[in-house]
């Protein structure tokens, strides 16, 4: 019964690409409604907080507040998009739209599907960081300096890492979620506090000493410090530790997410 010829199913790299391609096509199908908000959001945030509040603050950590916040937003853009993609997005595809039922009948394993989706989350991290960067560059053209140039031009690359970090963590969370509303706990309970206490809005040194070590454990702290270091040109050994944390976090969370979600898909 064994067929004499081997079956020419696509190799791993192609399978990952085909999953990524599916997400890219679906996303870009509504380019206007999907692609505009990432450009508007940083503007609104900068106008509301940076300009308004910034007038009272002046400088923070040695730079104008609007610049401090601007660099922070280059990091959190990737966090938010990857987190939404791999919580609500993944959950809806899995439970409501049943998209995976079709994909898993094609020559794609559950692991291919999950990893391909994580790479897509990283890609969205790049795109959203890039969108924020473009907005800041346009502001720079009009004389409003929000971010240090040219160093900040490299930040979209870090957007990929940030996307992977929060993509893997969000998928891990998704693997536990049975009811879509439970994501509220994740967003309100974990991501929002992280946004405020990871050195994005104010420096960690302002936190009480007893709390600083908590901030060191939290994932967002590390890409934020890394990107700030890069943008300010203040290179420090600790940035290497941050990079190591980021890579280890992606590896561990990715492994956990794949394991748990795979079990949910293949039963």
């Amino acid at each position: 019964m064994r067929p004499s010829e081997s079956v020419p199913y696509p190799p791993l790299a192609w399978r990952l690409y085909s999953v990524w391609y599916r997400h890219m096509r679906v996303y870009t199908r509504n380019l206007f409604s999907n692609g505009l908000p990432p450009f508007l959001e940083p503007l609104i945030f900068l106008a509301g907080v940076g300009l308004g509040l910034g007038q009272f603050i002046g400088t923070m950590d040695g730079v104008p507040y609007i610049e401090f916040l601007g660099v922070g937003l280059l990091v959190t853009a990737g966090m938010w998009t990857a987190s939404f993609e791999c919580t609500y997005g993944t959950f809806i595809r899995m439970e409501f739209e049943k998209v995976y039922d079709g994909m898993l009948a094609a020559p794609i394993t559950a692991r291919d599907l999950i990893v391909g989706e994580l790479i897509w989350a990283g890609t969205k991290g790049i795109f959203f960081t890039f969108a924020v960067l473009v907005v800041f560059l346009i502001l720079a053209l009009f004389g409003y300096r929000v971010i240090p140039l040219p160093q900040a031009l490299l930040t979209p690359l870090f957007g990929f890492l940030v996307g992977l970090m929060f993509g893997t963590m969000s998928m891990f969370v998704t693997s536990f979620v049975k009811v879509i509303n439970h994501f509220n706990f994740y967003f309100t309970g974990l991501l929002s506090p992280m946004f405020f206490f990871s050195g994005v809005v104010f420096p960690l040194s302002q936190l009480p000493r007893s709390l600083q070590w908590v901030a060191e454990l939290v994932p967002l702290t590390h890409p934020t410090r890394l990107v700030r270091g890069l943008c300010s040109g203040r290179y420090d050994w600790i940035l290497l530790a941050d990079l190591a944390y980021i890579l280890a976090f992606i590896a561990v969370m990715g492994l956990l997410a794949v394991r748990r979600l795979q079990k949910r898909m293949i039963r």
Binding site: Y9, P10, K98, D101, G102
Partner: protein, 308 residues
């Protein structure tokens, strides 16, 4: 001598305390149509999913699909198969052609082959006019045909369909049956689940009737009909007559089956049943040949289970 392309031996599967599939064995010949019949919750879908690695079986059973084991070689099996899941799962954001295009990538078809294949399949499934329609504009029957077209992209040797025509109108159902017969003629092996008896009768060369995870009856539909049930049935739906009849002694060779007020009398001799009808003074009865549905109901029982 026909080739066996699927060989399943002693497969069991449980979810917690629920035994979805119990010790099931069967084999499927190349270019034949094999059907799983059973009430909801009988384990049909689980059985199908195990064949292409979407669900894992446990224990000592074995499976061989084109020479591959789904536990270790799911990719090969999936590459050679097309699957039509129970629920349509098209991408609403994309149009008809784009839905197929995305899947052509999963099989790594070249752009030229993909375009050609998509045009062929839309034509085959009579969807050419809808090639750039949005999914939301499609009727239920069109969506179903598109999902079938999608399963056919890679010219599968095995087509797995989970309730292909549930909820569709008779015209679409007959069209789909016709297409499936054409595919079979071209050499495609077809596996389907259904709870439509006419569908099983119209398409399947072999079938298994399943109930609570077990195979109850197995064989070609015509043989099941011949061996497993009397030739005629008299259906009596009027309560009083049914009650009177079930109290009276029945002629020999007549078997009665009652569920609430619905009485069915089975016999091989139609004259015996006809005689019974003469005492009714009512036309609330129906005398007919038995069909696969009668076999099915006899095998699985007429009352509802907790899983239905």
């Amino acid at each position: 001598m026909t080739d066996t392309v699927i060989q399943v031996r002693n497969i069991s599967k449980s979810f917690g305390t629920v035994h979805a599939v119990r010790d099931l064995s069967f084999s499927v010949a190349a270019a034949s149509c094999f059907g799983f019949l059973g009430p909801n919750g009988a384990g049909k879908t689980t059985m199908m999913k195990m064949l292409y690695g979407r669900s894992r079986f446990e224990g000592a059973g074995t499976m061989d699909i084109f020479g591959f084991d789904p536990r270790r070689e799911e990719l090969a099996i999936k590459f050679l198969s097309g699957v039509v899941p129970q629920e349509d799962n098209l991408d609403d954001e994309l149009d008809v052609t784009q839905n197929l295009w995305i899947y052509s990538k999963f099989y790594r078809l070249s752009a030229v082959t993909a375009r050609q294949r998509i045009a062929e399949l839309l034509e085959f499934m009579e969807l050419s006019e809808k090639s750039h329609a949005n999914i939301r504009e499609l009727s239920g029957g069109m969506k179903r045909r598109l999902v079938i077209a999608r399963a056919l992209l890679n010219q599968p040797r095995l087509l797995i369909l989970d309730e292909p025509t549930t909820g569709l109108d008779p015209q679409v159902r007959h069209l789909i049956w016709d297409k499936l017969r054409q595919l079979k003629k071209q050499g495609t092996t077809i596996l389907l689940t259904t709870h439509y008896m006419e569908e099983a009768f119209a398409l399947c060369d072999e079938l298994i009737i399943m109930d609570r995870g077990k195979a109850i009856l197995e064989g070609p539909p015509r043989r099941l009909l011949r061996d497993q049930i009397e030739r005629y049935v008299l259906e009596v739906v009027e309560g009083e007559i049914a009650a009177a009849l079930s109290r009276s002694a029945l002629p020999s060779g007549v078997r009665a089956d009652t569920v609430q007020n619905d009485l069915r009398l089975f016999a091989d001799d139609i004259e015996v049943l006809r005689k019974l009808t003469e005492q009714f003074h009512s036309d609330h009865f129906h005398l007919r040949q038995t069909n696969l549905e009668d076999v099915f109901l006899k095998a699985t029982g007429r009352r509802l289970h907790e899983t239905q």
